[in-house]
Symmetry: C2
Subunit: 479 residues, 2 copies
Amino acid sequence: MNDACGSFKGSGENMSDLIKPDLPGGFKDYSPRQVLARQRMMRNIESVYRRFGFVPLQTSIAQRRQVLTGGKPSENRLWDMRVDKAAISTDPALTVTARFDLTVPLARYVAENVGTIVFPFRRYEYGDVFRGESPQAGRFCEFMQFDADIVGAQTGPADAEIVLCMANVMLALGITRFLIKVNDRKVLNGLAERVGFEPNSASAKALLRTLDKQDKIGLDGVLAELTASQPPEGEEETFAFDQPRLVKVTEFVTLCDGANSIEERLDRLERYFGETGIGAEGVAELRLIAKLVAAGGLPKEFWTVDPSIARGLGYYTGPVFETTLLDKPEFGSVYSGGRFDDLVARFTGESLPAVGASVGVDRLFAALEALSMTGTVEPDVDVFIISMDASFMPDYFAMACELREAGVSVEINMNYQDSSTRAQMGFGLSRRAPVMLFYGSGDAALGMVAVKNTVTRGQESVPRAQLVPKVLTILGRSA
Amino acid sequence: MNDACGSFKGSGENMSDLIKPDLPGGFKDYSPRQVLARQRMMRNIESVYRRFGFVPLQTSIAQRRQVLTGGKPSENRLWDMRVDKAAISTDPALTVTARFDLTVPLARYVAENVGTIVFPFRRYEYGDVFRGESPQAGRFCEFMQFDADIVGAQTGPADAEIVLCMANVMLALGITRFLIKVNDRKVLNGLAERVGFEPNSASAKALLRTLDKQDKIGLDGVLAELTASQPPEGEEETFAFDQPRLVKVTEFVTLCDGANSIEERLDRLERYFGETGIGAEGVAELRLIAKLVAAGGLPKEFWTVDPSIARGLGYYTGPVFETTLLDKPEFGSVYSGGRFDDLVARFTGESLPAVGASVGVDRLFAALEALSMTGTVEPDVDVFIISMDASFMPDYFAMACELREAGVSVEINMNYQDSSTRAQMGFGLSRRAPVMLFYGSGDAALGMVAVKNTVTRGQESVPRAQLVPKVLTILGRSA
């Protein structure tokens, strides 16, 4: 009884000792096939960034919380980090927090190294960022961004370079059905000005926040929300959305209806804002960008001016960009950015002009998968050596050595103890190896190796000394 | 008075509003020049891993704490993570913790996907890992590892492949003065057996823990520490280090003195252990590895058998490896690994043989820097366009477009507002651009562009239409 109980309990303990091999909710791994396809996408992006003169930076994932938030409440839920459940500091200067994007760590790096960096500083960076997203909503807490930014260049040419770079990235990925939408925060601030709100007032922000929802709730929704909205504290007297104000908002929102060309859109915006004020400034910035983007050779089908684009109420101060996949608009913007002239000032007290854009790597890759555009699956390995006879293992090692020295990738099968040659071949095919080698006692006696081309299914016996050139020929490489 | 006070306070607030742009202690950024050099190193490593048939995996940085620790106290201090200072769970199954290496996340991935992976699974992975290291000691809390492992292959060929792969990585990095030291945990367990301790007993572990310090404290230190050591709880009766035991330890530690060849070392180990027992098993494993490493073409100068290597008391169960740089031994092992047949069993209850090795990327890179072996600094960009006249910006954009389409990397200078041509040239030189372009009103009138070769310092005027071929010629590329 005692024994039975004991052994039952023992086996129960064993079971409960086993640790469940799952990830925390909201996190995921990438399988080799996914990594290889993502890697190909990333290296395409990287080569465009290099052609535009960007150099790579790598910032720390861990940052001080107040660096990330600017000492203000964060728009995003953030992951704090501490060693072995240490007491959590309530001081955001002492709290270690995982970066939620790559832009704030860039601004921090620039502020810390402002004396040694030669501006304009063109840097790219890819890496994981962390947000406290809800796994239930299918969003992930760790995801990759791939940014390019120019720090230390005024608006105009630098912004046009970013738009050109974005378009070249999309084209390098084989995507031709995309649209980059460009706006300027000054255009939106111009609307607030025309409506009669102070720039950056709570009223202006409330207006922009509602406008930002336009693609979800439509014009009617925007007007209804504005009519029903409560005045922000301290701005009760100036806030009310009366009929004249709603007319101005409606006029703005419908301004580009039916205007397909960028020129026509800019003309209408110019007429709406007149020649002075913040809105006119924004239109002038967009005109310069349009001129340079055209000079940079980008066909007009790939981009437009869209005055409804706001990109949230974050750190953007001038032009803003987003990118829609025309065949997968439901993925939202896969590549977004804008100008953030005031972000470095958080640390230095002085503005430093900056503009850039960020690929949402996971979102873009998911969209490419949905479009069946992630490319063909390459072989894991060029040559798969069947382990016909364990006593010939030293020969397999010698063959692998020679082939690898010739730049060929080789796997010697090491799951041979209980495997038939046939089972080993199935294993090699699962690696998609274009070449398989067979070498047993019969071959050894003749000094030959059997070389199988798994694509043509042809097989021939070649002298041992001819192995490397034969394999290179099958692979279509020169010796 | 009120005003003065107010403005004083205001300016004081401004100063204190500024956020200090530093990183938390123990974390760091990598500058573009460092990233470019590290990237070159990483891609060299990657190409060797690919030649050995490894495919890339990317695991989540965030893991469940109990997955990482196996439910036991951790050897390392770990970084726990939680969203916005949320309450910390005391349940290690619910605590999110950053990975401290890439091996445990591999074992977790394999356990979760054991039904779909085709074994042996050869995977490589690079990525940041996190430990609660002391910044005072010059150690970093976030650092990169670059691992290759074979999961699902018994000891022997797979271990030899790992040793060959390690050596090929070192050679691919241009390092020829290195030594890979190989041992087997069974050899060390064999010593414990000869001394009379149960395998895996607390006494055996205490002995190995002391032996592991041999390179720091020497043989005398080892013997002194053993003599003074207290018996582990429950093993008081069997523990004492009497003279016969100390003789056996001394004999083991000095076993390979004066034995330079691998064969001589294996022979002496064989004589020490005889033909049976765990130690003899370990020697037989090392013999097979030695035979296959030789067959794989590795010259004997690059590796040896060293019975003093233990690689800590972690998850290793068989052969263990470490790599010393002969000209920088003070960096310790830059590339280490071993066999861990029981790690997956933490999750599945069943052993799954596995072996691999991990490059300490930051340590190896620091050593390469100390050896002046990180390679030449490449240009940030091929072509630097001097912005002689802002009104020609569209022309600069058109030139950049043509050059980039030809695969040339181009930076248009955007810091031109207050910069002389001379200052712009200095800026272009700081980018190490081999080509600079000059195009002002004089050039435009003639339809020519001035092309400067910054290496030869020659400059010539070429027709606008000849720009791309001219630049390609200077860069030594074909059109």
